[in-house]
Symmetry: C2
Subunit: 111 residues, 2 copies
DNA sequence: TTATTATATACCAATATGGGAATATATCAA
DNA sequence: TTGATATATTCCCATATTGGTATATAATAA
């Protein structure tokens, strides 16, 4: 078997930097495909392809407006990733480091 | 060009459920390859391959012990993902919804 | 209707999987 | 040394990209 499709889930969808960049741009508000093309400096088909992937996993929503299509972010679709990674958050935040120091200190005192 | 390697960065590394599962198991503490094989129910080579990917992006660390290799989590490597996704957190948490209500209320009062 | 604009899709080439099986490497035991 | 155990690596195959180019589709304008 081969690798899972990028449209399999949100984890695969955000693996590509270009797709994350699109989400970052849409975080500031709705944009048409052409506006995205300009801001990204990519060819239009590449942008449309990425948008399709993001659409299939529910990360973006579309609004038709004449011959333009306005895409907007659906941030809620990122929640599964956040929920997963949040369990590891303690491993790098300062409070944990501080606790680490306390434990080390206690350990030193034991000797 | 083809798809980016899974070892390109942490975003690609965690795209596969099996690799995330390994991280989840290691969250409880160090495990040898065989212990992982047992708990995952996968063939040993598949586990070793996944561990190599995780090693290459710095998500796990190894400790040699005779003919066994004990892997442990390096959660700090997940921070870039957390930092990226944290910017979207407001889009699904309750406080934001509450703020949304307040803003709407203020808006209504303007009229 | 015909031309133009905005997007989406199809096609092609190159490549990195990921699973399965076999094999190599390293360590320890007898 | 020989054998067994624990891991890593290699091969082969089927597949899903991703980039580039060309083309199809839809909407609007002339």
């Amino acid at each position: 078997m081969a690798r899972a499709a990028t449209t399999t889930d949100v984890f695969n969808a955000i693996a590509e930097p270009g797709r994350r960049q699109i989400l970052d741009l849409l975080a500031n508000g709705e944009l048409s495909v052409n506006e995205l093309v300009e801001q990204l400096g990519l060819a239009q088909p590449q942008v449309s392809k990425r948008l399709q992937v993001l659409r299939e996993v529910g990360l973006v929503l579309v609004r038709d407006d004449g011959r333009q299509r306005h895409y907007r972010l659906n941030g809620r679709a990122l929640k599964p990733i956040h929920d997963w990674i949040r369990r590891y958050e303690q491993m790098w935040n300062e409070r944990f480091d501080a606790l680490d120091d306390v434990l080390e200190e206690l350990h030193d005192q034991e000797d």
